[in-house]
Every structure is written in C-alpha cells, then in structure tokens.
C-alpha cells in the first residue's frame, strides 16, 4: 500500500470533519474520495497533503509516517480546486516554479517544463498568463505544475468542478489516461458520483466525516454497504409502504425502500409481459436524457423514475402504463438489503 490512513480524526471546534478514517490506496492506482459537500472529503485530502494536521491517527505515505512532516517533504503534487495558478506568472513560469525552488539548473528546468507542456498538450501557450486561459487549459497547467517536481503522489481537489459540462467528460478521460501513463499514485476528491465511477479504480465514500464504503465502482454500485451509499449512488427514489407493490412484502425492521431507475421497466399496457408482477401507473413526465428517456411515473400515489429506451414505442405524459419493479433496496438506519420481486420469481418458475 502506498498511502494509508489509520483511525484519523479531525475536529474544527465542535464540527467533526473526520472520524476514525481508515483506508489505503495501492501504488499506481487512482482513488476517488466521494461525498456530498460538508462531508469532510476535502479535509481528508488536505490532511494527506499536510495542509491540515490530524488530531489523532496516522497518515502513512510510502511506509513512512508523515504526520509531522511538512507538506513539501511528502513528495506530493497538489492540484487545487480553483487551480491556484500564480496569476502574475506565465504558463512556463508556473510549471517551472517548483523546480526553481529545488534549485535545479536552467537547462534541466527548460527541458522538464517543455516535456510537461507537451504531456498536457499546451504547446504554444508557454507565455500565456492564467487569465488568458480557459478552465480546461488552467486545469492542464495546474496538473503539469503539480507533476513538475516528480512527486510520487498526486492529490486533486475537485479537479473538474469549475469546468463546463461538455469539456469535463473529455478532461476526465484525459486525466485518467495521463495519470496511468505517468504511473503516479493519485487521489482525487469529488461530489459527483459519475465522475468518481468513471475515473477511479477505487471509490471511498465519505459522509459526515466517516467512511461509508470502500470498493471498486462496480462493487459500490451493485452492493451498497450502508443506507447512505445506497441513497447517494444511482438516482434512487425513496419509497415508504413498499409492501403495497406487487411482489413485495414489508419486512421486519425495514420501513423504507429505495428504487433505482434501472430496477423499473415501463411498457405500454398492450406490451405487458408479466401481469401478475406488474402495476398500473400514470406517466407524470418524460424527459430526454440523450441515450434514453427518463420517465417519472406515478403508481398508487408514489412517484419514481425509470428509463425507457428510444428504440421502444414512445410513451407520453398522462399515459397509463404497465410498471414492472424488478427489485428494490430495503434500508433502515444501519443496514441495506436487496430484495427481488417475488411474484416475478414465481411466474418465471411457472413458465420454465
């Protein structure tokens, strides 16, 4: 393990920013700390960087305990949320700064900076100043500046938050590729689940200063370990009295359920396949989401979301439809449980 946190705690006055945080990141991998704003994710990153000091617990980088080590001796590159480019310096000077501090000789600096400018695809922009760059370009320069002194660990604070949605996706792929190419261990912080899922090898979900779940994006998506993780990942809608739906019974200790859009299939009534397992619902709204339609459907006074393929017969607002709920997550304050539509199971058994 390259980076390890063991029982790290941090309070600001009465506010708990980190409580018993423990996780590890293997060498060469890209980890994402995911959580809502105020969850303490930025504080965790700043503690790894040495910008904040933990009240207790250990932070270990490359087998060395670094709690007392000043930030500049931790071998870290840090990309700030708003990039923190030195506003009066050119792109070249920004990237060269760390090397100049290390008193490297001029030709070395020149070569290294040009190498990095090439890596981030900013050739021709060497003499621009930050205010002449777009958000994506600033991000690339900040990235190059962080990499210049050859750090062993790269930390990125909300790296895409300040960038247009369109450029964001492209930059995300670029970052993942480049990080892999350089082979540097990296940790980034984000509040966007899609971003974490797409870029990270491993996701660490934090909420209220605590780690909720650690795992690969697929693991976390498939098996949310805590109610928070289940609610935070996927566009789940919360439902009470889930026992009213066909194929589901109230289970002891679980009062509420979560339904993700992928768990629901909507079809025209004439196309209904499993009448015993299905419900009738009314379409409240339809919105186009690029690759599919997102449908808001109302069943027995509860509304939730479902996707509908563009290839299928179109569905319109106000239409009566057949709604099949495959499965849902039941949850209480501590646990999450996946249950499947019982009627559907039975019906499938009959049909075999």
């Amino acid at each position: 393990m390259y980076v390890e946190l063991k029982n790290v705690n941090k309070k600001f006055g009465n506010f708990t920013a980190a409580e018993n945080i423990s996780f590890s990141v293997p060498k060469g991998s890209l980890a994402g700390i995911l959580g809502p704003s105020g969850s303490g994710k930025t504080t965790i990153l700043r503690m790894i960087a040495g910008l904040e000091t933990p009240d207790s617990g250990d932070i270990i980088i490359d087998t060395q305990k670094v709690n007392e080590l000043s930030p500049n001796r931790r071998g870290i590159g840090f990309v700030f949320q708003n990039y923190a480019l030195f506003r009066h310096m050119t792109v070249f000077e920004n990237i060269a700064f760390g090397l100049e501090i290390q008193k490297k000789d001029k030709t070395f600096i020149k070569n290294r900076v040009h190498e990095l400018i090439k890596l981030v695809g900013m050739e021709g922009f060497e003499n621009r100043r930050p205010h002449q760059l777009s958000g994506g370009q600033k991000q690339r320069v900040a990235f190059a500046r962080a990499l210049a002194p050859n750090p062993h660990l790269l930390l990125l604070d909300e790296p895409f938050a300040a960038i247009d949605a369109k450029v964001r996706k492209e930059l995300r792929e670029w970052l993942k590729e480049t990080v892999k190419k350089v082979g540097i261990t990296s940790i980034f912080v984000t509040h966007d689940q899609e971003e974490a899922a797409e870029a990270a090898d491993k996701i660490i979900i934090v909420n209220r200063g605590k780690v909720e779940q650690i795992g690969t994006p697929a693991e976390i998506y498939k098996n949310p370990a805590t109610p928070f993780a289940a609610k935070f990942i996927g566009d789940a809608v919360e439902i009470e009295n889930y026992g009213n739906f066909h194929g589901f019974k109230i289970e002891n200790g679980f009062e509420k359920a979560l339904i993700r859009p992928e768990f629901v299939r909507i079809s025209k009534i004439e196309d209904e396949i499993y009448p015993y397992a299905s419900e009738r619902g009314t379409v409240d709204g339809v919105s186009f989401k690029g690759r599919s339609m997102e449908i808001k459907v109302n069943v027995r006074g509860k509304s939730f979301l479902a996707y509908h393929s563009l290839e299928e017969a179109p569905i319109f607002a106000g239409e009566k439809v057949s709604v099949l709920i495959y499965k849902m997550y039941l949850y209480n304050n501590e646990k999450v449980k996946l249950i499947e539509n019982a009627s559907l199971k039975n019906e499938q058994e009959f049909s075999i």
Binding site: A49, G50, L51, P71, N72, R73, I76, F78, F80, Q81, N82, A84, L85, F86, R87, H88, F97, G98, I101, Q102, R129, H131, R145, P149
Partner: protein, 270 residues
Amino acid sequence: MEKSFVKKILIFLGILFLAIMLVLPLVSVLFHAFENGIKVFIKSISNEEALKALQLTLIAAGAAVIANTVFGIFASFLITKFSFRFKKIFSLLIDVPLAVSPVVAGLMLIFAFGKRGWLGPVLDYLGTKIIFDIPGILIATIFVTFPLVFREIAPLMQTQGTEEEEAAAMMGANWFCIFRKITFPNIKWALFYGSALCASRALGEFGAVSVISGHLREKTNTMTLYVEILFNEFELASAFAVSSILVMISLMILILRTIAEYKAKKWEDK
C-alpha cells in the same frame, strides 16, 4: 428631454460644489503664496526655521511610511493567510487609531510616554525623552497613520485567498520566497497606494503633533505647526508660502496615488 435637463443640473451642481469647496481653497493657497512676489516667497521658505520644519516633517512622514508599510505587510499576511485565536481582536486593535481624534491620540501618548506617563520612569531611567521631543512627533505620526497601509492591502489579500501561497509552500518555498514571488506581485500597486496615502496623511498631521510638540519652536516644529505659528502671528504671506510647499508635495503624492490606484484596478480585473 427631461433626462438631459436633470443631467445638466446635476453635473452643474457637482462641479460647482467641487469648485467652491475644494478647488478654490487650493488655488487660493497658491495665489496668496505668490501674492507679494517670488522674492517674498523664496525668503519665507528658505529661512532656517522653515527648512528645519520641512526636514522634521519629511523625517516623520518617512518614518510613518516605513513603519506602517512593514507593519501593513506582516499584519495583513498574518490576518489573511492564517487562522488563529484572537484574530478578530487583532484586527479591531489595528483600527483603533482611526477612531481616535488626533488630539485625543496626542493626549494618550502623553500619558504613555510623558513624565507622568506609565512608561515615564522607564524612559527616565534610560535617559530618553519622547514627549515634547522629536521621537514623540515620530510616534504620534506613526500612530495616526498606523492602519492605513494594512487597510489597503488586507482586503485584497483576503479576496486572493491562500491557495497560491499553499501551492508554493507545497513545493518547498520559504516565507521570503513566497512573499517575494507570490504575494507581493499580487498586491504591489495596492501596497504602493497605501504607502502614498500614509505619506500624505503623515505630512498633514496636525492635531496629534500639536499636542506632543509642546510648541517648542525650532525643535519640534513640523510644517503644519509652523504654518499655524505664522498664521497666528499674522504673517499671512509666509504662512501661505510654507503651505504651498505642503500643497505641492501633497498634490504630487495624490497624482502618484491615482496612478497606483488605476494600476491596482487594472491588476485586480485580471
């Protein structure tokens, strides 16, 4: 139709006000200074007393600019880049001299550093005299202009945040390097503006130094005190001549300040 009429009236009112209240007094100083010819003017400003007053004024203003610029830099760095206990109290204390009338400021200094002041015995023991002497004039001038540089640069440093400094520190830069290469270039024009503001206030300081000087002619006379003496002795031509020197220095600083302000604005817009 109606709009342009209102516009004309308002512009006329504004210009009239400025002309009568601000420009006329300025012009009248210069007019009276040269009223009795250039010879009288030169004689008024070249006698020993005038030169000594000019010298003391320049020393006091210089001391205030240096002390308060150094203070402004460190204090604003402290207040805006770090978080620590009693920060609010610190910034409040820094502003105190602005709330105090200069005459009252002089009074406080007498009770601190004077013979009956609480530091009096210490100063007596050291054999130094502050009140009714040149050091007192310097301290009084520093006191009344104390927060001016700080107040110009602190808000700017606050809006610029700490990320750039943090980024530099993470790469191993020391304090001096961070200040010289990161912080200073971002605030230089505001710093210059603040220093110039401090200089012009220091040059014109009257109330506090008037209390501190003890009206010792020649020894503790600044330009403004000298002007007062001349005016009270009905030496109007000399009073205006000496004043005109102050006016010219002040105007020069004002022009420099306006340039600095313009540059600072341009810099901030980036």
